[in-house]
Structures are given as C-alpha cells and as structure tokens.
C-alpha cells in the first residue's frame, strides 16, 4: 500500500521510525469466541485468570512508585471483590462464557460508579473497566499491560497508567494514540521520557497492523504510515541529524554556562515529578530550580500522607546527586482538579485562596508537607520555596510554619534537615516592589515570570483572544525584575528565574543582562540557553538590558534583542 500521512496533536518532540506494535489495551474482547463450555470449566478458567492477574499486579506493585502502588493496590482489591465474583459466577451459571461474564459484571459495576454524584468516584469506573480488561486478556492468554519484545512504535487507543508501569522504555521508539490531548497521561509520560509522540490521531488503529513501518513526527504532529523509500531516506537523514544534535548537546552539557567575559550563571532544570530530575541532570542541569509538588496531590482521592511525600522528595534529592533541589510547597487553587480538598468555586481563582493562602487555612496539609520536606532533606541538598507571597506577613507566617514543623521533628527525635535554604517565588508585583524588605528574611528569590507577567499585565496566559497581550519582555515586567535583582544583590542574596522566560533565548538574554544568577527551565531548553550564555559577553547583555528598561513597548524590546540572537544563531 502507498504512503499515508495522518495528522494529530504533537505531544512530545522528536522523530521516530520503526515497526508498529499495536497495543490492544482496551479493545473490546472477542466475546463471541468464548463459546461457553460447561459452567464448572468456565468457573475454573475465571479463577485461574484472577490468580494470573493478581500475580501480575503484585509484581508491578513491587517496582512502582508510591502513587502507582496505591492504584495497583486498589485494582487488586477490586479483583478480589466478592461482588465482582458473585456477578461473574451468576453470569456463568446463566450459561455465559467466562469472558462474557467478566465483561458483563465489570460493565455493570462500572455503571454503578459512573452514576454517582461525586466526580472522583465516577472516575473509578475506569479502574473497574481496567480490571475487567486485564481479566479478559488473561482469559485469552494474552499478556496484560504493554510488554514490548523489540524496539517498536506503540499504537493504541490510549495508554492507561497501568499500561505503562513496568514497560521497558528503551524499546519504546515512539507513541501514537487515537485519543488524548496534550495533557493526557500518554503525552506527559512521553515528554518526561523524551519519546516522540503524536496523540489524538482519529482512526489510526484501523489503518495499522503489527510490524508495519511507521514514522512519528512529534514536532509536526504527523504520523506517516508505510513511508515510501524516498521518504524513509529523508527521515533517516533527519534521524541522523537528531542523533548528532543530541550527541553535541551531551558533549556541551558539561560545559560551564559562562559568558566570554567570565560571568557565570547557574543553569537549572524545572521538574514536575521526581523522575524529571534525572532528565534534567542528563541535559546538564547544575541544579533543580523548581520541583513542583503538585504532582503528589493531583488525580487522586485523598491528600498524600507524610510518608508518601517523604519518599517522593527523597527520591528527587537522591536523583539530583548532591545538586541543589528547590522544592516548591503546594501551589494549588480552586482552578485545579483536586475534589478532595473541597475548594469552593471562586469568581477569580487566580486572585483567590491558592498556594500559601490555602496552606495557611489548612495547617494539616501544610505541616504534613513541611515535615516530609524536612525529613527528606537529609538525603541531599534541599531548598524550600514558598509560592504566591504577596506581603511580608505571608513570608513570616510561612517561615513560622516551617519552624513549627522543624521543632516538632526535633522534639520527636526524627532525623531532618537542620537548616535548608529557604526562598520565595516572586510572582506578584507587590512582592517585587517590596523585594528589598523580603530579601532580608530569605536565602534566595526565584522569579516566577509566568504569573508575574499575568499579574503585571492583567492578562490570562491561556486566554485565546489575548495571547498578544501576554508579553514577558514588556518593559513593565523587566523593571519589576530589575527591582528584584537589585534588592536581592543589595542584601547579598541570589536570585533566579523559573518561568518560561528563562528557557526562551530572548528572555534568557535579557535576564542575563539584568544580573539574574540562576536560570531554571524545562530541560529541553537547556542546550540552546547554554550556547547563548557562552556566546554573548556579559557587558553586551547588560547594556542591552539597560536599553530595554528604557523602552516603552515589548515590540521595541524585541527589536533591540533580535539582532543579537540572530548573530549568535549564525555562529
């Protein structure tokens, strides 16, 4: 057959070329083929399938992270559920085969949960169906979950978390799914693993079969089925270029981020989950400038306990191998999906009870997190960072809470970090303008440019009609940053930036010139920023930043900086 190109959503960058591996995760089971034998035999088959799936889940549980362990634990309880067993046995007694009985029973139980008011419990219907799928697969003698035997591009309807636990990622060349958007589990996983992925490709499953050659272009969001020889040749050239670029980046990853005239900045990586720390270090991050702690709190039924948080933070610190890891305390508000916190809907969630404001109202949550952080601090170089500080009182109250946690640990004789660095995010204009007061009471600042830009220009970053108004290089933003840098240095403290601006060459050049000491960004942006820092003399960047501060519009600033970037790009 001829070459075909399918379009989808670009979910994770990069190019992959290889044979298809169709993952039948949630394909409907061949119920018709399960000709019902005698009920006794069907019952035995069901019991054997339950035992096989339970062994499988137990094995997966052993190697999983705490959150996945909890999901798998719930799946094992569902597998052993007497209600499930009663329904299946009743189906078999009515003359159904084991497959059909399992499907009917799990569908009935899933429907029961799907009909509940509580949105969290409704989602558990998916867990019941997942257990059902595993049972049907086991009855058919098929492997459950994603079990690659050779390097392949996985094509699936969607990948569930339980599909990807335990997969050998060296064999995973690329991912294509019919469903899912840029924030689906598949997309997030692919990005954190650095595996090219295209999601939301309608009808792809109908057009592929195992072993068919397929190319995944994770930059363009395209999937090429059975590429023609000329196309393969072109793709192979791009793959070679990609491999060379990666090798070059790796070689450069060890080089210091130092300007030709000797100004040193620290290049750090942002992380969403502990596993991202390894990816950042691989790309030459000298530190982790922002580890968000939200991952522990999202998509679950109850807040994580101290032990689970401790394990996660300790893992991040261990993966960082002695590099500083700045862990930000919970930065969540009514706009995020955390039903168990019971947060009321707010008219203006970004101006409401979020981050520290939420933590102050929920000392149970806050103390648990602070205790876990301090305990984890013995495993590496921990820095604690508080988000959304808008007044000096916020900072003092947060520090008092940290001290309370520390004193409680000390009184109980529990090992903990004695004096971790403590810093705050500067993301609210009020904090930027009183930075000289705040600087005396912290060890460092990290400027969160994403929110600072939003709050300064009063524009929602995700607003579809206002994208042109979201201007990180607006002189108003630059002047606030300038204020913060001067305040920090005046008090002998260091200042970093952990917003998107730090990873964008134009923004990074301005920040360098404004005297920022640390730039923390998503790891893929590190190589380009490193090259930039090593190419532009600090005195030139500084002069450029001074001129930018005097500009009247973002467009003027960009016109000023572009020629320098073009010169650097031209080598």
């Amino acid at each position: 057959m001829a070459e075909r190109v399918l379009r989808g959503v670009a979910a994770a960058a990069g190019l992959a070329l290889g044979p298809v591996w169709v993952h039948q995760g949630d394909a409907p089971a061949p119920a018709a083929s399960s000709a019902a034998g005698d009920p006794g035999a069907e019952r035995r088959r069901f019991q054997e399938a339950v035992a096989a799936v339970d062994r499988d889940l137990e094995r997966l549980q052993a190697g999983a992270d705490p959150q996945a362990r909890e999901i798998l634990g719930a799946h094992r309880l569902m597998l052993a559920d007497p209600e499930l067993h009663n329904l299946v046995e009743a189906g078999i007694a009515r003359g159904l085969g084991a497959e059909a009985a399992v499907q009917e029973a799990t569908e009935q139980l899933a429907a029961l949960l799907a009909g509940l008011d509580d949105p969290y419990l409704r989602e558990r219907a998916a867990d019941v169906r997942d257990v059902g799928r595993r049972l049907v697969a086991a009855l058919a003698g098929r492997a459950v979950g994603l079990r690659l035997e050779a390097p392949a591009v996985v094509v699936a309807r969607d990948l569930a978390p339980t599909d990807t636990i335990g997969v050998d990622r060296r064999l995973l060349l690329g991912i294509v799914t019919e469903q899912g958007g840029p924030t689906s589990h598949t997309a997030i996983l692919a990005r954190s693993w650095g595996i090219p992925a295209v999601v939301g490709v309608p009808g792809v499953l109908e057009q592929v079969q195992d072993g068919m050659t397929v190319a995944v272009d994770g930059d363009a969001g395209a999937v090429v089925l059975e590429p023609a020889p000329e196309t393969v040749q072109r793709l192979e050239e791009r793959l070679r270029a990609q491999a060379e670029a990666r090798a070059r980046e790796q070689a450069e990853a060890g080089l210091p981020a130092e300007t030709p005239d000797g100004r040193r900045v620290e290049l750090a990586g942002n992380a969403k989950v502990p596993g991202d720390v390894a990816a950042a270090v691989e790309r030459g991050a000298e530190a982790i400038g922002l580890l968000r702690s939200e991952f522990l709190f999202m998509g679950r039924s109850a807040p994580p306990d101290e032990e689970e948080q401790y394990q996660a933070y300790a893992e991040a610190l261990r993966l960082a191998g002695g590099r500083r890891v700045i862990i930000r305390t919970l930065d969540i508000g009514g706009d995020k999906g955390v039903p168990y916190l019971g947060l009321p809907r707010e008219e203006n969630p970004f101006l409401g009870v979020r981050a520290l404001r939420l933590c102050f109202r929920r000392p149970d949550l806050f103390q648990t997190q602070l205790r876990a952080l301090l305990r984890a601090g013995v495993h590496g170089r921990l820095a604690v960072m508080f988000p959304m500080v808008s007044t000096l009182d916020d900072l003092r109250q947060a520090r008092a809470a940290l001290e309370e946690a520390r004193a409680a640990l000390a009184a109980a004789g529990i090992p903990h970090a004695l004096a971790p660095e403590v810093g705050i995010m500067i993301e609210v204009p009020s904090a930027a303008l009183i930075a000289h007061h705040l600087a005396r009471e912290v060890d460092f600042f990290s400027i969160g440019t994403n929110d600072l830009v939003q709050y300064t220009l009063a524009v929602d970053r995700g607003h579809p009609e206002l994208t042109g108004l979201y201007q990180p290089s607006h002189p108003a933003v630059l002047r606030l940053i300038d204020e913060v840098v001067r305040a920090a240095h005046g008090a002998g403290k260091w200042v970093g930036v952990c917003g998107e601006m730090a990873g964008d060459p134009l923004g990074a050049l301005l920040l360098l010139g404004l005297g920022v000491d640390e730039l923390s960004m998503s790891p893929p942006a590190l190589p380009a920023v490193r090259r930039l820092v090593r190419a532009v003399p600090f005195r030139e960047a500084e002069a450029l930043a001074r001129q930018a501060l005097a500009c009247s519009t973002a467009a003027e600033v960009e016109a000023l900086v572009r020629p320098v970037l073009e010169r650097v790009a031209a080598g």
Binding site: G73, R300, A302
Partner: protein, 88 residues
C-alpha cells in the same frame, strides 16, 4: 450483633484510599459479617466496589453493623480507623 453510626469527617469521605483501608480492616476478621448502610442502601464491607458505590462523602453519616464471633473486635478496629480520619 453490634451497630454504630459514624459521621465521616475525612475530607475525601469514602473515596478509594479510605474505602480500601476499611475493606482491608474488615478482612482481618474473616468469620464476621460487616455491613455498611448509608441512606436506604446497605452493602458488604468486604466489597471495595460496593463500599465505593455508596458514594459517601465528607459529612455523610454511615451505620456499620457487625455480626459474628469477632463482632466487637471488628467494630473497635473500624471505629479506630474511621474516627482516626483513616490515618493508618
């Protein structure tokens, strides 16, 4: 037979983790029947799916009934779990 009524104070009501802890607690008493009632529905506390299907949230009242040789012990263990905010 022992019967007791509890008000759920845990923020997540009987979501997956608290419900799983409840089922695991009941499993420690194999010969004892444990039933949970919310409103007009009563289900076996040995079935995670049934417990979840009660849809019990924070502030809801549930009634637990234990019958069998270890009814008292089972109730004590459940009370400790529920009143302790599912901290185990």
């Amino acid at each position: 037979m022992v019967e007791r009524t509890f008000t759920l104070t845990h923020a997540a009501g009987l979501h997956a983790r608290p419900a799983a802890l409840l089922v695991q607690t009941v499993q420690r008493f194999p010969g004892t029947e444990v039933l949970i009632r919310k409103g007009d529905r009563e289900v076996s506390a040995r079935s995670l799916l049934s417990v979840l299907s009660l849809g019990a949230s924070q502030g809801d009242t549930i009634t637990v009934r234990c019958e069998g040789p270890q009814a008292e012990e089972a109730m004590a263990a459940i009370a400790q779990l529920v009143e302790g905010g599912f901290d185990g």
